[in-house]
């Protein structure tokens, strides 16, 4: 059964995420980032950041809310029982600090079939309150046996 590709190019409503100091600390602790710039305001400011800075992979926290409706969209038609997260790319821009408000927009960039698997590729772009791009992400989900 071929994959449905009608949803390619579809865009989803932007989400906003307010970055909290304690959330950065909680995330940094979970992934083992012990550097003071991720925990201590004075250390972060001394290193040139506005406030405590998020580890790069904190991008997951603020961009995921925009991805949910895209991945769950019936028009995209993913078979979740057979889905795995196959690949991920982040391209970082401005650092994200406590107090930032991040807006993320997601869209379906590619749907295709290869070797009996369905590839569902999404792109999200996140910007901060000044309009600067903070991360551009490519999320690849693979469905076995389409």
């Amino acid at each position: 059964m071929p994959v449905k590709t009608e949803a390619v190019g579809k865009e989803y409503p932007a989400t906003t995420y307010e970055v909290g100091l304690e959330k950065i600390r909680e995330y940094a602790n979970a992934v083992g980032q012990t550097e003071p710039v991720h925990h201590d305001r004075e250390a972060a400011k001394a290193a040139g950041f506005r406030d405590v800075v998020a580890p790069p992979m904190f991008a997951v926290v603020y961009s995921s809310p925009a991805m949910g409706p895209a991945i769950l969209d019936p028009d995209v038609d993913i078979n979740f029982a057979a889905m795995v997260h196959g690949g991920q790319e982040f391209v970082w821009g401005e650092p994200v600090c406590a107090g930032d408000e991040i807006t993320t927009r997601a869209e379906v960039s590619e749907i295709y079939e290869k070797d009996g698997k369905g590839f569902y590729v999404f792109e999200s772009v996140s910007t901060n309150q000044d309009g600067d791009e903070v991360v551009r992400a490519t999320w690849t989900n693979i469905v076995r046996g389409v």
Binding site: A30, V31, E35, P55, P56, V60, P65, G86, Q88, E89
Partner: protein
């Protein structure tokens, strides 16, 4: 500036996620998929046990890169990974990498993460901006 030239290995990062790490990562990331935090559920759907979040494993790969660059989070400009074998708690993760190109202060690193001989992050490529 970190001294990273073509052919150099980056320092290995070794970390052993404990039994409850997936629960803490679920809370920190907001991803409460039961395959990560419910051992019984994971086995019902055919997994050996509850598995690590792929993005947690990717975060370890990211951490190895920023540590290689001297700890500045601004150094990591891009990271692309493929998730392959499933990672599990209570087994050591080893992240390794090799510089494949250097152009001025810009460095490209081929990197991967293994648990034993199980590659959990494969064919990953990082770009660092050294300062």
């Amino acid at each position: 500036m970190a001294d990273l030239n073509e052919g150099d290995a980056i320092p290995e990062l070794r970390v052993t996620p404990d039994k409850y790490l997936p629960h803490r990562y679920a809370g920190a990331s907001g991803d409460f998929n039961p395959i990560h935090i419910d051992n019984d559920f994971a086995q019902v759907v055919g997994l050996p046990r509850n598995i690590l979040h792929g993005l947690y494993s990717m975060a370890q790969v990211a951490r190895a890169q920023t540590e290689a660059a001297g700890g500045d989070p601004r150094a990591l400009r891009r990271l692309a990974v493929q998730f392959r074998g499933m990672g599990v708690p209570e087994e050591e993760i080893v992240v390794s990498g090799t510089v494949t190109a250097r152009d001025g202060d810009r460095v490209v690193i081929a990197t991967e993460a293994f648990q034993g001989d199980n590659g959990i992050v494969r064919n990953a490529e990082a770009e660092l901006q050294l300062s």
